[in-house]
Assembly symmetry: C2
Homo-oligomer: 324 residues x 2
């Protein structure tokens, strides 16, 4: 069997800014942020590193970027707080770690990884998760690091909408921010990571699909690595990530068939969003049923990124190969 | 298509008392507790009620019984607190609700149901979940209701073992308590519910598989309803409940084949435990790889219960039919 060609795919959420509200400057910032994350993650793969390290590096970059709803720039919940969820999964043995409802660690994805590597558990939530993060000495930041005026205003707008009784405008940018990464390394191993601030004005304590293994995050060397973004409640009810795995193992579907089918299946029942997935051959699928999904791919041919439907843009002669 | 014959199956956890430590009196108490829960749940089905109501009634009964690790009699975490998780799922449309890390509601399963029916979310954790339970007026109880000397002593024993550096004795009774129910109603609908206090001396904030849909709890009218009990971390990494669903849909396996296969698969990697499952034809599977699993079945023929390997005991001419 030939040595796999490493590949990294990332998403910055299916909650893209409406096309009519997007400016060229803003669009360039998003592409630049995606490229930064791809560069950080792919550097690991290019030097022969592990898929797990690559997805963590990519997600750390997205967490530090206030444009994306994870870490710095996370959205606010109904009580004006920020509660973050994150997960990592290693396809070699399906070891996994996740946190839910934390605030303080600069990189929630590192908290998730620490749960996997330094605890007996897979998922820690709330005050106990925070205590764990402090005890192991994760880098913390104060509220001023995480807060952005844009997310605060989005909360005020949503609370005002609820007070006024106005209809939900279905704004995906308010609802669906998440970041994630999936990778195949040169040894043929897969990994996935997901991190999110959740939904603007979510109930305190709400946990979405990101830290629910099999829903928002999954990785198994036998099949695929998946990170999802979208209406988390629906993604949980359809076990979206594990459904792709199951269709590949038991239904003999290709990665693209499985990933596209489940994203299409959940669209009519309110499951707006999308996902990124990679299999052991390096095939990548980036399906979404929303108006856009911040996304990108890095491989030996370069970096390619996209926001709305259509081919990815960037370096490399075949930037259309991995289109949506 | 003929009218389905309703059936209810329950478990009181795979963490059974070692056979050599079980007394006839204790054994009779467990059988009685299981029969109480079966009676409560099956009464709903017998009068033409819904599977969802039946599993909730059965779990409420088990939560009130201090013999089982859920609600009253829940185990203590490493900090001497009790944190409970619960989940319900309705096979009609896979609506789902769960809570993690709560203390106070007499019946955590009702908190899970309230998340499903009275919130926009699927999973609430920690302080936010507690706040939700208070706001909606769920019946609460104080610490004296939930505490039992036996569980408190189990915590002291485990903490002492850790201090002394003694090897883990692998006592399943300390590790694997959970209760759950699955049902098929006369309309052909399926439902599942699970409730637990988790593992003795677990980390504060630890969430097991019970409220992770696709791992410890799943229900879909197309395939099956499942409630699991065992080493939750492993059950999450194998997406045990959704794996049974997937094998039935995509692998054309029967309920028994799928359920027995996954329970066998996780045994050698540390995934001790078991599960209960029912399909749309009323087939029931109760596989476990631990030394026992408190379990029972109720249908038109009566109630049958079991603890260790071997046929169930109770009313009805075919009490062996649904053996393990």
């Amino acid at each position: 069997m030939p040595t796999p060609r490493p590949v990294l795919a990332i998403h910055g959420g299916a909650g893209t800014i409406r096309r009519e509200a997007m400016t060229p400057e803003k669009e360039a910032q998003y592409h630049a942020g995606l490229r930064d994350a791809l560069s950080a993650g792919y550097a690991v793969l290019a030097r022969g590193g592990q898929a797990l390290d690559a997805v963590v590096e990519a997600v750390k970059s997205l967490e530090d970027n206030p444009l994306f709803n994870a870490g710095r720039g996370a959205v606010f919940n109904a009580a004006g707080g920020q509660e973050m969820d994150a997960a990592v999964m290693d396809g070699r043995d399906r070891r996994a770690g996740a946190v839910a409802g934390i605030f303080g660690p600069r990189h929630p994805v590192l908290a998730a990884r620490a749960v996997m590597e330094r605890s007996d558990h897979v998922l820690l939530a709330g005050a106990g998760a925070q205590q764990f993060c402090r005890e192991i000495g994760l880098e913390h930041r104060g509220p001023e690091w995480f807060r952005t005026d844009q997310r605060w205003q989005a909360l005020q707008d949503e609370l005002e909408r609820r007070r006024s009784g106005a209809a939900d405008d279905g704004d995906e940018a308010r609802r669906h921010g998440t970041v994630g990464a999936v990778a195949l390394d040169a040894k043929g191993h897969l990994a996935a990571a997901t991190s999110t601030g959740g939904m603007t004005a979510k109930a305190v304590g709400r946990v979405g699909d990101s830290p629910v293994f099999g829903s928002g995050t999954w990785a198994d060397d036998r099949t695929c690595a998946v990170s999802a973004t979208g209406h988390g409640e629906l993604f949980i009810r359809y076990a979206v990530a594990h459904e792709i795995d199951a269709r590949m193992r038991w239904g003999r579907q290709s990665l693209a068939e499985a990933a596209e089918a489940i994203v299409a299946e959940i669209a009519p029942v309110g499951g707006s969003g999308g996902l990124i997935a990679v299999d052991g051959l390096g095939n990548v699928a980036l399906p979404f049923n929303s108006s856009g999904m911040y996304r990108g791919i890095a491989d030996a041919e370069g970096l390619r990124t996209g926001i709305y439907a259509g081919p990815l843009v960037g370096a490399g002669p075949d930037s259309r190969r991995h289109g949506t």
